[in-house]
Symmetry: C2
Subunit: 186 residues, 2 copies
């Protein structure tokens, strides 16, 4: 006699993502998700392999949203203005969803092909914006250097690692300008 489904993959991921956005990925528990979708915790194991699988599903959703936010930023202007726009959109996403952004980089046990696909997709807008500016041979290196700077800056900002006074703002502007200038002349 088939028991009626009280929830779904989609609802579970949405509830988990909402919880992570509010309380952080460290606090994510199967109990909390189960409560939110009104089943008992063991029922979640019919749909997800465990906490790690739920967290990875949240990460996939977050990377999709993040990638979409960057895609939306494909505005007009020069190539280097477009890159600035992407950097700003990147930082804005992280500041708007700080706990979700942190969760995107939480360690998980193993990434499957879907996990890798959404991560790679989020890297494409920057690579496209760099295309008119730098040759294909060095494009990936330059994208990595830019991403390292933006990710590092945003991570330090969100974890309040800038403790020597002053605003972080000018350091972001200066670093970005220096990289854009140096990467073209280098």
């Amino acid at each position: 006699m088939p028991a009626v489904a009280k929830t779904s993959d989609r609802e579970i991921v949405a509830a988990a993502k909402k919880f992570v956005a509010r309380h952080g990925h460290e606090a994510l528990s199967m109990q909390a998700v189960a409560d939110a979708v009104e089943v008992r915790a063991p029922s979640l194991y019919k749909r997800f392999d465990g906490r790690d699988a739920v967290l990875r599903a949240v990460q996939r959703e977050a990377f999709r949203e993040f990638g979409a936010a960057l895609e939306r930023e494909q505005g007009t202007g020069s190539a280097s203005e477009r890159i600035r726009g992407l950097a700003t959109a990147y930082r804005a996403f992280a500041r708007r969803h700080p706990r979700l952004y942190a969760a995107m980089f939480a360690e998980v046990e193993a990434l499957d092909d879907d996990d890798l696909a959404v991560r790679k997709a989020a890297a494409l807008p920057l690579l496209r914006a760099l295309a008119p500016l730098v040759p294909e041979t060095t494009r990936l290196e330059i994208a990595r250097a830019l991403t390292a700077f933006i990710h590092g800056f945003v991570s330090m900002e969100l974890s309040r690692s800038f403790r020597l006074g002053g605003e972080p703002e000018p350091a972001f502007e200066r670093g970005l300008a220096a990289l854009l200038h140096g990467l073209q002349t280098g």
Copy 2:
């Protein structure tokens, strides 16, 4: 009747640090530390307020070691060669102690004055190396931009976030060179 002390703050921190270096900070438990120093877990609470306090003590030790490694790098050569040396020493420390490096940035409940002091001390070598190169008014910004790049790069490298093929090495060299060049001309 005073009971004999079976352990000490020092021994507990050393055991916890060793555990974190081996298994990562997420796996750190009071039980594991207690086993290592041969007491029962509740005894640890006579010396530390809880898991968070133990983890913060590990972070302090790690930041001290890290700062000392950077101090040691105060070699000869031009200012920008010294900065390159610091960046390389930074990255080398993170690669030599990947789990300890990750643990240094683990979220903890609240930092006390000692926590802040060791973090600030670790930032000084770079600020000193920048002194002959850039005026005091922009030095902190520039240090932050450099640190953001190095930390971001190392974090991505250690979490295997570079998944589009090729070696990370040239991206580090290129980004660092671009920043050093751009920061001086900007």
